[in-house]
């Protein structure tokens, strides 16, 4: 069954690649609209050979890592406090309501004014685009911890601290990690937006500059590279999940 599904995966990709190869090769689609797979491969080879591509991936990944990490460091504790202590929720609620509708791109003018166009500004954009999601996921997961387990823990003699460490944190952890995974993808889109608007390096800048030079194969290389990087990040997150949440392994199979 699994083998069959895998075969379907490959077949679907092969069909699309084949159609792409055929339609560009036969000249049905002009190269200025869609370059051929060969052109894209060629562009990728050059960029990989001179090391530019890896540099761009590393630069973007570093920005995501810093902004996302900072957001997680702020929002996870804050979200837990909001979940267990109502006044904290009351304090945060108005700000969350006001800031949540703003896409991170709307922070670009202010962030450039305040922070210039250096690394700090990119990290800030990632941070602004991520922290609210992490906060909300953490808050929700904390609220959703089974109240029966809180009772059971107290019935077995747990005090406030033990309830926090032994029940609320592990109980909320799967939800928090799930939220982090969703937010990580959002963080990537934030950094790319920021790089397209004002940056000399990073995958977003690569795509935008390639567009300016009319180098369409390079645009596609950049896009592919983003997909692959996020896939790798997701895979790493899944590994981490298996280590952090051993009790969920049965559910995942």
């Amino acid at each position: 069954m699994n083998v069959l599904l895998l075969a379907i995966n490959f077949a679907a990709v092969a069909v699309v690649l084949g159609a792409w190869w055929l339609s560009t090769g036969q000249g049905w689609i002009a190269p200025i609209f869609l370059p051929s797979p060969g052109d894209v491969l060629h562009a990728a080879r050059i960029k990989i050979a001179n090391g530019d591509l890896l540099t761009d991936v590393v630069v973007s990944a570093r920005r995501v890592f810093l902004g996302f990490g900072l957001a997680a460091m702020v929002s996870i504790p804050l979200g837990i406090v909001m979940g267990v202590w109502r006044p904290a929720k009351a304090i945060m609620d108005p700000f969350v309501s006001l800031l949540r509708p703003l896409p991170s791109i709307t922070w670009i003018p202010l962030s450039i004014l305040w922070l210039g166009i250096g690394e700090l500004q990119k990290v800030a954009i990632v941070f602004m685009g991520s922290w609210i999601y992490i906060l909300l996921y953490t808050y929700e997961s904390t609220r959703r911890v089974d109240p029966l387990l809180l009772r059971a823990a107290r019935n077995l003699g747990a005090g406030d601290g033990a309830v926090m460490w032994e029940v609320i944190l592990p109980g909320a952890l799967p939800g928090i990690i799930g939220g982090l995974k969703v937010t990580l993808a959002i963080s990537w889109s934030c950094v790319l937006t920021a790089e397209m608007i004002a940056a000399q390096s990073g995958l977003g800048a690569l795509i935008w500059q390639a567009k300016d030079w009319g180098n369409l194969p390079l645009v596609l290389v950049g896009m592919l590279c983003i997909s692959l990087t996020v896939l790798v990040a997701d895979w790493l997150a899944l590994r981490l999940e298996l280590v952090l949440l051993p009790w969920e392994r049965g559910r995942r199979g």
């Binding site: 009772r151 823990a153 019935n155 077995l156 033990a162 009790w247 392994r249």
Partner: protein, 265 residues
């Protein structure tokens, strides 16, 4: 003997949203003596779990008072250990971690915890499953973990909500025998909810029969079956006679319940 657990004119009403209020328990008074084994018997929804939650301090009576050794129970009471109807195991802790939880909360050191936890894991016949997580166990196994967890914590009172409901007949008998043995040696005060007449008769000193809507005590029946008891007693003519007289008393309350055991089986 003095009463250890008391309920004085306890009424508990729940807010049930649009449908108004549900009177789960009405004007109920009950004294449970030190060392006594009391079974609560009654149809589904007659307020058995509600009484247990009141004794554990999970909920407060709407009117009236519950007390442990004369002191009102106003918050969650670790001296009244609960075996939950729905297990309430910590999914992120292994069998061992769950069983040792109470000991850890009491500040028992790692080595002593290990040893005492293991004894109760062995007792409930889960040797070899120490490192499994609850989701990897069957319902009956999870139920036995809950039992081991509370026995290891060694509270003054045991409150058990249908603790053997998910077990197969064989395991259930083994667990009943274990509980009889534990009670014989520790004389721990126990409140035990069950739907089974046999279980109530073999385990209890007194049987409290409840009736639903609103939940009240219908009858309190002292159990004359001599101790020490044994599951094999259930085939003696004396036992049969006792069971059929008890059956007549509770018939009206139990008639509509699925898990009813009848005197013929």
């Amino acid at each position: 003997m003095p009463a250890i657990l008391t309920a004085r004119n306890v009424t508990k009403t729940y807010d049930a949203g649009r449908s108004g209020q549900v009177v789960a328990v009405q004007d109920l008074s009950l004294d449970i003596e030190e060392g006594e084994f009391v079974c609560l018997l009654g149809a589904s929804g007659c307020g058995k779990s509600t009484m247990l939650s009141l004794f554990a301090g999970f909920i407060q009576p709407t009117t009236g008072e519950v007390a442990l050794r004369g002191t009102p129970i106003t918050g969650i009471e670790p001296r009244c250990g609960v075996v939950f109807q729905s297990y309430a195991l910590f999914p992120w802790r292994t069998v061992r971690g769950n069983v040792e939880f109470g000991l850890k909360m009491q500040g028992v050191g790692r080595a002593a915890r290990r040893e005492r936890g293991q004894a109760f894991i062995d007792l409930v016949k889960l040797t070899g499953f120490e490192e499994r997580y609850p989701t990897e166990l069957s319902g009956g196994m999870q139920q036995r973990v809950t039992l081991a967890r509370i026995l290891a914590a060694n509270p003054a009172v045991l409150l058990m909500d249908e603790p053997f409901a998910a077990l197969d007949a064989m395991t259930r008998q083994v667990m009943q025998e274990e509980l009889l043995r534990i009670h014989a040696t520790s004389h721990k005060t126990t409140v035990f909810i069950t739907h089974s007449l046999d279980e109530a008769l073999i385990l209890s000193d007194r049987i409290v029969v409840m009736s639903p809507r609103p939940g009240r005590i219908k009858a309190v029946i002292p159990n004359p079956l001599p101790r020490p008891r044994h599951v094999a007693m259930q085939i003696t003519p004396e036992y049969m006679a006792l069971k059929s007289s008890l059956w007549q008393l509770v018939e009206a309350e139990m008639a509509h319940h699925d898990e009813t055991s009848s005197p013929q089986d």
